[in-house]
């Protein structure tokens, strides 16, 4: 954007191209190793409260990955993403109260999330931008209203205790177990989201985000692509809500209100829209940073500092933390190439 190279260099496969090339075996192994090492840190080094938070980061990462599909890749603004987490969490609560285990819970969450997403997405087909955001906002409010008025079924404003998930020896009321349980769907969600970038489905989304005219000119179904993105993001959010309910053991309407949706949005923007790594960084940011402020005895500062940081990121590094890293990488490569040429 800022760099217009007039002299054409023969491409060395910088940055952006990774979206269409599958990573080689070597790179896959490197990534796997790095991931395994980072993933092993919380349970091995941290006390159980921080492992509990780490488990939440993992659950929220699924939500931000989903919002990234919708906003980062498809360019659709939703203020109901936390509501879809709520759909997942309350479906989990309802299904588990009948004594059903994690497999049935997960299946129900996926089905209910898809149905709820269709209800929102199909009528709003032709909407985008602010109007879509307003409709999603209305959906969030509707959901909150339903919960408030169905105290028998959902616990209402008082919230509800959710039974832990038990899988074999793992019990999600134990932070380390919850962390391990959450890690499996999160890894799958991450691998699928990364793979999406190498599919025509993923490219349709980018085309809808950047230029609907060009998308249509090659035959892309714009409305269908938006709906698909909305459905995928809702399923991601629903699964995140399922894990959130199991990890925290208690859910209440404020967990899934407008502010929660805004924070998810902040996470995607700060981490770096359109990037899988950015979604993870964003999830870590919204779970851990408020905690650090609380630890420092200044919990009220978080919204202020968080808001300022969002403004700075939006203005200075529009591609978020990940974009910042890439920009530096590009600059380093360019400096190096320049040196080679003069040498």
């Amino acid at each position: 954007m800022t760099s217009t190279t007039t002299r054409s260099r023969t491409g060395t496969g910088a940055g952006a191209g990774a979206a269409t090339r599958g990573p080689g075996l070597g790179r896959k192994l490197t990534r796997l190793t790095v991931f395994a090492v980072i993933a092993a840190v919380p349970p091995l080094l941290f006390d159980s409260y921080w492992v509990f938070l780490a488990a939440q980061v993992v659950a929220f990462a699924i939500a931000t990955l989903g919002l990234d599909i919708l906003y980062g890749r498809t360019g659709q603004l939703s203020l109901a993403h936390a509501s879809f987490m709520g759909v997942g969490a309350y479906t989990t609560y309802t299904v588990s109260s009948y004594g059903y285990g994690p497999a049935v819970q997960l299946a129900a969450v996926v089905v209910v999330a898809v149905v709820a997403a269709l209800v929102v997405a199909v009528p709003t087909l032709r909407l985008s931008g602010l109007r879509l955001a307003l409709v999603t906002l209305a959906f969030g409010e509707l959901l909150a209203w339903v919960i408030r008025n169905t105290t028998d079924l959902t616990g209402g404003t008082q919230g509800a205790s959710v039974d832990p998930i038990v899988i074999g020896l793992l019990d999600s009321s134990e932070p380390v177990d919850a962390y391990l349980i959450a890690l499996v769907p999160a890894v799958i969600a991450t691998v699928l989201a990364a793979h999406l970038g190498r599919t025509q489905l993923g490219r349709r989304m980018l085309a809808v985000r950047d230029t609907e005219l060009a998308a249509e000119s090659v035959g892309v179904a714009v409305a269908r692509t938006k709906i698909t993105a909305f459905l995928l993001s809702a399923v991601y959010a629903g699964v995140a809500g399922w894990l959130y309910a199991a990890i925290t053991g208690f859910i209440a309407p404020p967990d899934f209100d407008l502010f929660a949706s805004v924070y998810l949005f902040v996470a995607v923007v700060i981490g770096g829209a359109g990037s899988v790594l950015g979604a993870w960084l964003g999830a870590a940011y919204i779970v851990l940073v408020p905690e650090l402020f609380t630890l420092a005895g200044q919990p009220n500062l978080y919204p202020i500092v968080g808001g300022a940081l969002l403004a700075i990121v939006a203005l200075v590094v529009p591609d978020g933390i990940v974009g910042l890293g890439r920009g530096i990488g590009r600059r380093v490569r360019r400096a190096r190439d320049g040196q080679e040429e003069t040498a």
């Binding site: 217009t4 054409s8 269409t20 090339r21 999406l196 060009a214 249509e216 090659v218 892309v220």
Partner: protein
């Protein structure tokens, strides 16, 4: 996958912007399988005609036929799927994506696996991906962009960006190709190269190809047929020699810009 190149016919085409008629009762026949030059002074309605054929502007009156199909009632997307693919005069690219991604989006017309098959990376998706990347590599190579395929398009010089858009149009080998000033911004050498590439692609994959172009020499080397518009109206059609030899065309076209046209 491509049927033989079809004839394209517009019948009494009128396009209105408010009270202004950008096209007036235009009836043209684009002969099948030819490379057709669409010429006319600025504002003649060349882009509007491409828009009307590709479904990007509402038609007030008239019809568009491709082969024996009436496409008048179809939207832009359905016309693309029917084989009519166009490039834009002002390039429309996915600015922050790579050259390859921009070209691959053009493979949408080829049979693509279902969204779920793609999402989960089923074998059908892998096959489609291999087919699409091979097609993209081929067209990028032809257009001299092979070395750039992993660069972001917003880093490219203007002329290359235009070629990326041409590549996106060509990658699915459409049977009707509409290019709006693809040579704009290219230097003399680049123009000649583009002309030979288009000729080669046209030979390998038969199509009815319309090229909007101001450069008379380029039209003469590239096109076997020429259609001239002026002020939204059909002026003349025929071989390049016939059209450029026509008095009215010379008056309308060279009258105002005799020199090199950018």
């Amino acid at each position: 996958m491509t049927t033989a190149a079809p004839a394209v016919r517009t019948e009494g085409l009128t396009v209105r912007y408010g009270a202004f008629r950008a096209l007036r009762d235009v009836t043209v026949n684009l002969p099948p399988g030819e490379i057709i030059g669409l010429i006319g002074p600025n504002g003649a309605g060349k882009t509007t005609l491409l828009n009307a054929i590709s479904g990007f502007t509402p038609i007030a009156e008239g019809s568009v036929h491709v082969g024996d199909r009436d496409l008048t009632a179809l939207g832009a997307r359905r016309r693309a799927l029917a084989g009519v693919v166009r490039g834009f005069q002002t390039v429309r690219l996915l600015e922050r994506e790579s050259v390859l991604t921009n070209v691959l989006i053009g493979t949408e017309r080829l049979p693509q696996p279902s969204a779920l098959a793609q999402f989960f990376g089923l074998p059908s998706q892998r096959r489609a991906h291999r087919r699409d990347t091979a097609a993209a590599a081929e067209v990028l190579d032809l257009l001299g962009l092979a070395g750039q395929s992993h660069r972001r398009v917003d880093e490219l010089p203007f002329a290359s960006r235009r070629l990326v858009e041409v590549a996106r149009v060509l990658v699915s080998s459409p049977s009707v190709i509409l290019l709006d000033e693809p040579a704009a911004g290219l230097d003399q050498e680049g123009r000649q190269e583009l002309a030979s590439v288009l000729t080669r692609i046209h030979r390998n994959h038969p199509s009815t190809m319309v090229v909007v172009e101001h450069d008379v020499d380029l039209v003469k080397t590239l096109c076997s047929y020429v259609i001239a518009l002026d002020s939204g109206a059909f002026l003349r059609d025929g071989t390049p020699a016939e059209v450029f030899g026509d008095r009215q065309v010379q008056l309308a076209y060279f009258g105002r810009a005799a020199g090199a046209d950018a």
